[in-house]
């Protein structure tokens, strides 16, 4: 019921607004209206994809991310502003609160304008580091655009990013080259599993400040693969934040510009890349959804009546130790305005844990079948020989995919008094059972003998 309702709801949402999974209200924060012209194609593309775009100045008094305690927008694009502060509506706390309510943020930096302090502390909280020098930018003496940056080498031309790891889906692939002009490089902290690089600088790139380090760079902020041009954060509640090192990537001027890479003339594919970036950040891609989750007793009488369409008792609250249990879960992936069956990348699989304090089972779920909207993953296993309160626990946190965490608590009880095998079914007990009956028979025989011989005994005693 809930399932079909949410399906209907998403379908309705898709019909009336954006293709995004969470809604189409998009706020673009831009300091002056003149700047808007530079991003006209980018914003036009977003509108074309169904987003309801609102452009506000950070100084506007009506600007607020929240309304009545709920978020007023589903997504926010923060474009660079000249002023140092972003105003009271866009403090770091506000933006984190916005993300706590599952709002998504696309944050564009620029080396020409200092990053506002609010955003600096926001990035610091998320363990993303940018150079302290406000004019620092990324240069590369090998992969630069010789048309526009003949001298400065600060417009990088890069291919579309490859998958982060072999078993991670790539949502940013494409054909052509991306122009990254005058980017602010970022480094990512090593602790948090929530942050991931989208576009890394090539191994020959480094970050320097043209003002302070014009002659010699002694201790660069970061070099090579450690330097990220575009990086992403996905919070535990799957709110997404993308940091784009150069706001110019999104500008019309670079969307399909002619450039020269190592003497070869190429055309930049920034428009496609910007689309990839926004569609991921605004949850048009990489969104997983858990559908029907069923576990049931898979033995004895209930196994006999289990069919694919009818399972007698779904999701019971209690099992016994050493029960055979079947578990299935439907997982869908959101793609292009509707849900499709989710197929995990090669080498990766969704795992089920059956755990009490620590996992007693950790099983790879196998795709059993596919419906129109979902893949049905499932497995069967035997509950451990330990009673207690267990959890069916699916935790599937992968870079660029929304987090799945499902916990279903069940009780595993001990054997009831009448569930043990009867004594005569245990061959080892035959000796003792035999002993009992021999004693009984022997006693009866003795009593019979005693009674039979009692009169003689009596007389004998009397004579004594």
């Amino acid at each position: 019921m809930r399932w079909s309702f949410s399906l209907l709801f998403t379908a309705l949402l898709g019909a009336v607004s954006a293709k995004s999974f969470t809604g189409g209200r998009l706020l673009v924060v831009l300091e002056n209206a003149a700047e808007q012209e530079k991003y006209s194609v980018f914003l036009g593309d977003l509108t074309g994809r169904g987003f309801h775009v609102t452009v506000e100045s950070p100084k506007s008094s009506s600007l607020s991310l929240f309304k009545h305690g709920e978020r007023a927008y589903d997504h926010v694009v923060l474009l660079p502003a000249k002023s140092k502060g972003l105003g009271p509506a866009l403090t770091a706390n506000n933006i984190l609160d916005f993300m706590k309510k599952e709002g998504n943020v696309l944050l564009a930096l620029s080396s020409e304008q200092a990053t506002p302090t609010a955003l600096q502390s926001l990035l610091l909280e998320l363990d993303i580091h940018i150079p302290s020098d406000k004019s620092a930018l990324v240069v590369d003496h090998f992969n630069y655009d010789s048309t526009s940056a003949e001298e400065k080498h600060d417009v990088l031309l890069l291919p579309f990013p490859k998958a982060l790891k072999s078993d991670v889906k790539n949502y940013f692939s494409g054909e052509g080259v991306i122009a990254v002009p005058r980017a602010v490089g970022q480094t990512l902290g090593n602790q948090s599993p929530l942050i991931a690089p989208i576009l890394r600088a090539p191994s020959t790139a480094y970050s320097y400040s043209p003002k302070d380090e014009a002659d010699i760079v002694e201790d660069p902020f970061a070099v090579g693969g450690q330097l990220n041009l575009v990086s992403a954060v996905q919070a535990l509640n799957s709110a997404r934040l993308t940091v784009v090192g150069s706001s110019e990537i999104l500008q019309t001027a670079w969307f399909s510009e002619k450039a020269t890479l190592n003497g070869k003339a190429v055309t930049t594919a920034n428009r496609a890349f910007a689309e990839k970036l926004t569609s991921w950040t605004f949850k048009e891609a990489g969104v997983l959804k858990v559908g029907k989750l069923v576990h049931y007793l898979d033995e004895g009488a209930s196994k006999a009546s289990n069919t694919s369409s009818a399972i007698p008792e779904n999701n019971p609250g209690i099992y016994r130790v050493k029960n055979d249990v079947a578990f299935t879960v439907e997982i869908s992936e959101y793609s292009n305005s509707h849900l499709i069956p989710f197929v995990p990348p090669k080498g990766d699989s969704v795992q089920l844990e059956f755990s009490m304090l620590s996992p007693f089972h950790r099983i790879n779920l196998t795709p059993l079948s596919q419906t129109a909207n979902a893949t049905v993953f499932g497995t069967t296993f035997k509950t451990p020989d330990q009673h207690g309160i267990f959890n069916f626990h699916i935790k599937y946190n992968r870079p660029f995919l929304t987090n799945i965490e499902e916990k279903k608590q069940v009780t595993v009880r001990h054997f009831a008094h009448d569930e043990w095998p009867r004594s005569w079914q245990i061959s080892g007990a035959w000796v003792w059972i035999g002993g009992i009956w021999v004693t009984v028979a022997g006693w009866l025989a003795f009593v019979a003998l005693w009674l039979y011989s009692s009169p003689a005994e009596k007389t004998a005693k009397k004579t004594q």
Binding site: A92, L96, S121, A235, H387, I389, R413, H414, H417
Partner: protein, 751 residues
């Protein structure tokens, strides 16, 4: 006894039936007094279950009534000991619940729908009436005077030592167990006296009931064999003893093994070995007795000697072998603590931490037994005078129970019946002597110094004692009789006053609800416990897990109906130590523990505002000790004391103390109640530090009216992967400082 000469047969019968009727009426009145003196708490407060354990029994009874006997038998309780659960049906003594369940169904069968709660509340007073009756029967077996039985029943009915565990609402195992204890003893005495299998089987039946009701059945299991053993040693072996003991042992052991919680203990644990040993011994004695009848005495002597030697060696060797190989469980810790009162404190803090396992303070004897404490030895002495089989029993019982009552507070309960019996024997002796108006004045005076008197005296009294060699004389004047009888009745009156006073002031508080007096003298009810538990019940998810110290586990389960981590059934020391560790460690250590155990709320009891001394800070050292028992490297009791060895909570408290979760939860925000710097803890009478503790991994959810109960919610993981400390400081506006200078080598991200 001395009936008038001209008394007709009819007249005598008449007077006997009058006496019988009188006795029934008196017993009914005693039962009425016993029941009504236990109703103080219901009248003062309401019909409510008391204290801690009764809440579990109540919950279990409700489960039994709702789900029937078999599901109760197989009950796996998933709302306690999260996430381990408890095989409750197999780890409890079901006698109490089944009894009240049976009463409930019986009343429904009679079309009297009574709320199960009221049955549970009133069960203990009801059974106290039965206990009084059983005491009457037992005493009647001991004493020749019929008044002793009635006196004993009256004593048993109102003595505070028994009332302490059987007021209305005190729905605990002891509520029915004391009745069963006394009644089983009565049946045993009857069986030994008559030597009948029937009474022996009845003893076994009630012994089985007792096993199903209370863990204290071990007392019977050891006392009856000891009685038999002493009788054998005294050379009083008789076929009567053989029949009654063997029929009790065989049937009783089988009956006790039917209780899942007991199971095979009767043949495997050391506590039960004495019964088994005496069973073997009595077979041997019986066998030897038989052989002696068949053999000449000289051959018999040699046979006996070799037999004794062989049997001793074989039995002892077998016992040692079985104990070493683990077939027979070694003595449990609770047992050791019966012999060495310091044992538990060192080795098993969990047992020592229970207040009722502490050694009894001397005043408690006077408080609980009043004048009986000095009548009791007199009664025991009376038993020495005519040392028949049943008097031996009284002596043994008295000695053993006195010792145990001195070791453990709660065992005062097993002492009380024999104290009542013995002092009733003594008291009735006084009354019988002095209430007899027609004293043989002339006879005794006449023979005061003559030879025949000595003969008579020797016939009546054992002449082993010096005081009895000379024929004693009494005081036969009415004045002296009046004095003695008068003072005796004054003592009885004082006893009643004392019992009523103790019952009303000490034993009738439900301890769930606290009563205090306002300055104007009116009663003020402090109802924080129920306030907090009902808050939990109504404001938290149905299976929100509550972590608290184990004392409150049963109450949370019963009143708030929420799963708990640990409760008063302290079966898993490690789990309790885990909670203790979470409470006594820093937040960073506690948080992963709480996450792992899926804790949603933490409940602490804090008495600092009201001066309620039974709070968690005062119990805190037990948590530390129990945790230290499992993790000696991580939790250290020493670090909670100042260098001078003081347990402090003020400015001089140790950093470990001030950083412990328990301290923080108790005093969080407490400063805000007082003017700056003047926060005062009224239990420990000390001023708190000017700056209160800060919490990051948990947040305050609820604090009751008088701050007795404080409930905290455990925060979820930080949404952005930060640790809670930095997340909280960020929320408070402390921005992270950008590291201007890099320290050490560059940290590279590896992927």
């Amino acid at each position: 006894m001395a009936a008038p000469e001209e008394g007709q047969f009819l007249k005598q019968a008449n007077s006997q039936s009058t006496r019988g009727l009188l006795r029934v009426i008196i017993l009914c009145l005693i039962a009425g007094a016993a029941i009504s003196s236990r109703l103080f708490s219901v009248i003062r407060f309401e019909s409510i279950i008391h204290e801690f354990d009764p809440w579990f029994n109540f919950r279990a009874t409700k489960y039994l009534v709702q789900n029937g006997f078999y599901s109760f038998w197989d009950w796996f309780d998933d709302r306690t000991w999260h996430p381990l659960g408890r095989v409750t049906g197999g780890t409890l003594y079901p006698g109490l619940m089944v009894t009240s369940g049976a009463i409930y169904h019986f009343l429904r069968f009679l079309s009297l729908p009574v709320d199960i709660r009221n049955i549970c509340v009133l069960l203990a007073p009801g059974f106290s009436g039965l206990t009084a009756f059983a005491t009457y029967l037992l005493t009647n077996e001991m004493a020749s005077s019929p008044s002793a039985g009635l006196l004993a029943a009256a004593f048993m009915g109102i003595t505070p030592g028994y009332i302490s565990r059987s007021v209305a609402g005190s729905y605990d195992n002891e509520a029915i167990a004391i009745f069963l204890l006394v009644f089983t003893f009565y049946l045993w005495i009857k069986a030994v006296k008559l030597g009948s299998i029937f009474w022996g089987a009845l003893t076994a039946l009630f012994y089985g009931y007792m096993v199903s009701a209370w863990g204290g059945y071990v007392f019977i299991t050891n006392l009856l064999p000891l009685h038999a053993f002493v009788l054998i040693c005294m050379g009083r072996y008789s076929p009567r003893l053989y029949v009654s003991y063997t029929s009790w042992f065989a049937l009783g052991t089988l009956a006790s093994m039917q209780i899942p919680f007991v199971g095979f203990l009767p043949i495997r644990s050391s506590e039960h070995m004495s019964a088994l040993g005496v069973f073997g011994l009595i077979q041997l004695v019986g066998g030897v007795d038989f052989i002696r009848a068949q053999l000449p005495s000289k051959q018999f002597q040699t046979l006996l000697r070799t037999l004794i030697l062989v049997i001793f060696v074989v039995a002892f060797g077998g016992l040692v072998l079985l104990t070493v190989s683990g077939v027979i469980a070694p003595w449990s810790g609770r047992f050791y603590s019966l012999w060495d009162t310091g044992y538990a404190k060192i080795h098993i803090p969990i047992i020592a931490s229970v207040s009722e396992h502490q050694p009894t303070a001397w005043p408690a004897f006077f408080f609980d037994l009043s004048m009986m404490i000095w009548l009791f030895p007199a009664g025991v002495y009376m038993c020495f005078r005519t040392l028949s089989d049943e008097q031996v029993f009284v002596v043994i019982y008295a000695v053993l129970a006195s010792y145990f009552a001195g070791v453990m507070v709660r065992l005062m309960l097993t002492l009380t019946p024999i104290v009542c019996v013995a002092s009733a024997i003594a008291f009735s002796q006084i009354l019988d002597t002095y209430l007899n108006l027609k004293s043989p004045k002339v006879d005794v005076k006449e023979n005061a110094s003559s030879e025949p008197a000595k003969v008579v005296a020797a016939a009546v009294l054992p002449d082993g004692l010096r005081s009895t060699r000379n024929p004693l004389v009494g005081i036969y004047s009415y004045a002296s009789k009046l004095t003695v009888v008068g003072s005796a009745s004054i003592y009885l009156m004082l006893f009643v006053l004392h019992c009523t006073w103790v019952t009303s002031n000490a034993y009738s508080s439900p301890s769930v609800v606290l009563a205090s007096r306002l300055p104007d003298g009116s009663q003020h009810i402090i109802d924080d416990y129920r306030e907090a538990y009902y808050w939990l019940r109504q404001n938290t998810a149905d299976n929100a897990k509550i972590m608290s110290w184990w004392d409150y586990g049963y109450q949370i389960g019963g009143m708030a109906d929420r799963p708990t981590l640990v409760d008063n059934n302290t079966w898993n020391n490690t789990h309790i130590a885990t909670v203790g560790k979470a409470m006594s460690s820093r937040e960073e250590v506690s948080y992963p523990i709480m996450r792992q155990h899926e804790v949603d709320y933490v409940l602490v009891v804090f008495g600092g505002l009201l001066g309620y001394s039974g709070d968690d800070i005062n119990k805190f050292l037990w948590m530390v000790r129990i945790a230290e028992g499992i993790w000696p490297d991580e939790v250290k009791e020493r670090s909670f004391f100042t260098p001078r060895g003081e347990y402090r909570i003020d400015d001089e408290a140790t950093p470990t103390m001030r950083n412990s979760l328990m301290y923080k939860m108790s005093y969080y925000n407490y400063n805000s109640l007082f003017p700056a710097g003047q926060a005062q803890d009224r239990v420990r009478n000390s001023r708190l530090p000017a700056e209160g503790p800060q919490l990051s991994t948990i947040e305050e959810a609820f604090t009751s009216e008088n701050w007795i109960i404080r409930i905290y919610k455990v925060k979820d993981l930080d949404n952005f992967g930060r640790d809670h400390q930095s997340a909280v400081s960020f929320d408070k506006g402390h921005k992270k400082k950008r590291a201007t200078k890099r320290k050490g080598p560059r940290v590279l991200r590896v992927e």
